[in-house]
Symmetry: C2
Subunit: 381 residues, 2 copies
């Protein structure tokens, strides 16, 4: 059956006894839409235009146990062309099932046209910094517990050392011992002071993640201080709040996402949703300009293929959406930088946190080392 361009096509990996797979596939299509047994549906319009259609079931060879690739086409109107209902359609009720994994989603044009996507993207962020011929480098301001003044001092050292993007650690919130407004003011002073000395542009991204009633207030304050961009954790604030922010005309700075909490989607062996769908496709759809995710070889569980799939879903040609920066982190240290660049190419932001602090007490020098280690002088990576 041909993909009809009016359906959201979801590909699942389903573990099932061989005799039951047809029934399970039908159940998914009902569960995620009408949520009643098929016998209850009497209206032919609902049967045709609402319930998902199972379009393929294929046994996968070479697996222990019985695994099947199942494809279901959902009429796109069922998504209501919005993020909360689209998430509900994809994985709402079946998130409670053990053996159903979403491995791919094809979105039709009309669905995607309902979203604006990244406002800046790779090209826009490069324009802001004026750097085109190399990967960008980034670091995080930490630890939690440091004062706004101390955080500002770290920011100054990193900016002097040549880091392009300096972000708050995602755990730095509006603490009494390091208020959001004080931290933004302190870091922006540091950024400006360093720029006077180096002549280079550095972008500071404060973490605006906060209570529902405070996120927009944080953003307003940050924009008034002319920050370089905004860091937000979509799974802490709700994914559609990020879409709303990205699509708001008054928010004229790039957004960087932190994947906090999203790991629950990726760590259940036979269930969950592929990381490239969430940290790639969906984050790009909601307007994320740079998506931070755990790199291969680090303290988290992603392998190289998974990371490349995320990068691909951020940077590929996808209707009219701008390309987003893959921002691998957590598995990069000062030794493996060339290898990481070799895997991804130059359109990437390398984020190093802990190991930039651990190298020596001279953070400016550590940053300079990072800057030089990540240059790709003359060569195309």
């Amino acid at each position: 059956m041909r993909f009809d361009d009016k359906s959201i096509r979801v590909s699942y990996l389903v573990t099932s006894p061989p005799g039951e797979i047809e029934g399970i596939a039908e159940d998914i299509a009902l569960e995620q839409t009408v949520e009643v047994p098929k016998s209850v549906i009497k209206d032919p319009w609902i049967a045709k235009e609402i319930i998902g259609k199972v379009t393929a079931i294929r046994k996968i060879d070479g697996h222990a146990g019985d695994q099947f690739a199942v494809t279901i086409d959902y009429p796109q109107i069922v998504s209501n062309f919005e993020i909360p209902q689209m998430l509900n359609l994809l994985y709402g009720n079946i998130s409670f099932k053990q053996d159903i994994q979403i491995v791919h989603v094809d979105f039709p044009r009309a669905f995607i046209l309902s979203f604006k996507g990244p406002k800046f993207g790779i090209e826009g962020i490069r324009n802001l910094i004026g750097v085109y011929d190399r990967p960008l480098i980034a670091t995080a301001l930490k630890p939690m517990g440091a004062s706004a003044e101390q955080i500002g001092e770290l920011c100054y050292q990193f900016a002097l050392g040549g880091v392009h993007i300096i972000k708050d650690d995602h755990s730095l919130v509006d603490f009494p011992f390091c208020r959001f407004e004080d931290r933004v003011a302190s870091c922006m002073r540091a950024i400006e002071k360093a720029a006077e000395k180096t002549g280079r542009r550095t972008l500071y991204f404060p973490n605006v993640t906060d209570r529902y009633d405070r996120v927009l207030r944080n953003i307003e304050f940050a924009l008034e201080r002319n920050v370089g961009g905004l860091l937000i954790s979509p799974f802490l604030t709700g994914l559609d709040s990020v879409r709303h922010i990205a699509e708001s005309e008054w928010v004229n700075k790039p957004l960087m996402s932190h994947p906090s909490l999203s790991g629950v989607y990726f760590t259940n062996g036979k269930g969950g949703v592929s990381p490239d769908i969430i940290l790639g496709r969906i984050f790009r759809l909601i307007g994320v300009d740079c998506s931070v995710y755990p790199n291969f070889g680090g303290r988290f569980a992603f392998d190289q293929d998974t990371c490349l799939a995320i990068a691909d879903s951020l940077r590929d040609s996808f209707y009219d959406l701008k390309r987003s920066f893959p921002t691998p982190a957590g598995g990069i240290n000062l030794r493996n930088v060339p290898e990481v660049i070799n895997v991804y190419g130059k359109d990437i932001i390398l984020l190093i946190g802990g190991s930039l602090y651990a190298r020596s007490d001279n953070l400016e020098e550590n940053a300079r080392y990072f800057y030089e280690a990540s240059a790709i002088e003359g060569q195309r990576a």
Copy 2:
């Protein structure tokens, strides 16, 4: 070590090689707070007041593989007394780890006092309906694809039959073919018409889950029409949006939560978070008056102990928070109602969807059958 009443005590189940458990436990305490190696922390205040303290590691016997019960006390200031940062503290980065499960959380008094919890609770909802001596019964309006008029007609039948709470299916959003405002108007007409006939009070809960910029608009409209309560899916809108709604003084109706998407926390064998923490404790904390969750014996994976743990965390004595209604669903049909009541007692809302539609075409009669099957005449369940 005694629980000091200033810490959030998190109990983990960790799968680990025996020689590595101390290191892994330390890593969790660092990862969820300062996110740098311990050697980088020079400030003694941060070491003492910010980083989690591993207070217990105990090997669990009788498991295949090596499992350990690990307890870490986090200073409560690290939560910043707010939901997004509390979620980040609990499971933000470690959601990416395979073998760490959160099985229990003790919250100190000062943390809990920062929240208002349910506005109505069990007693408040019973007062609204005027029913005290039996479980409440509820159903869902569906299927997706029906018109506002058709949904209103279903609502009328169920109200005549004696259902106490009639909610939208959680997948009914503001569709072009069944607009939110039309549906609310249609259902409220049905509720009022039925009340004239029966003299009984029935509560209609429309689904207000929507885009970030529309949820509050939906609620305003629903409250103007004097609905009985509001249905919302916290994992679709963001948990803190629900907290904000529940704590808003102008929202003077009870909230029912649907657990859509939350299953990812519960289905990864050696990771995730216990259902009673999320669908019980945390939902109660954000102000949910009735928490819908999949009942044992149904098409989802929870067993009876898990369901009782959820019910317990909704109904137990928990500082000054009101008690919330456990609202098991999805595993209840018209045959096992007495058994379900026997397990939970009478302070429960029994939610039956599909099987109430499937019994016969006469929904009023089906509802009456449900009403009678769930009565506990004279006896204390």
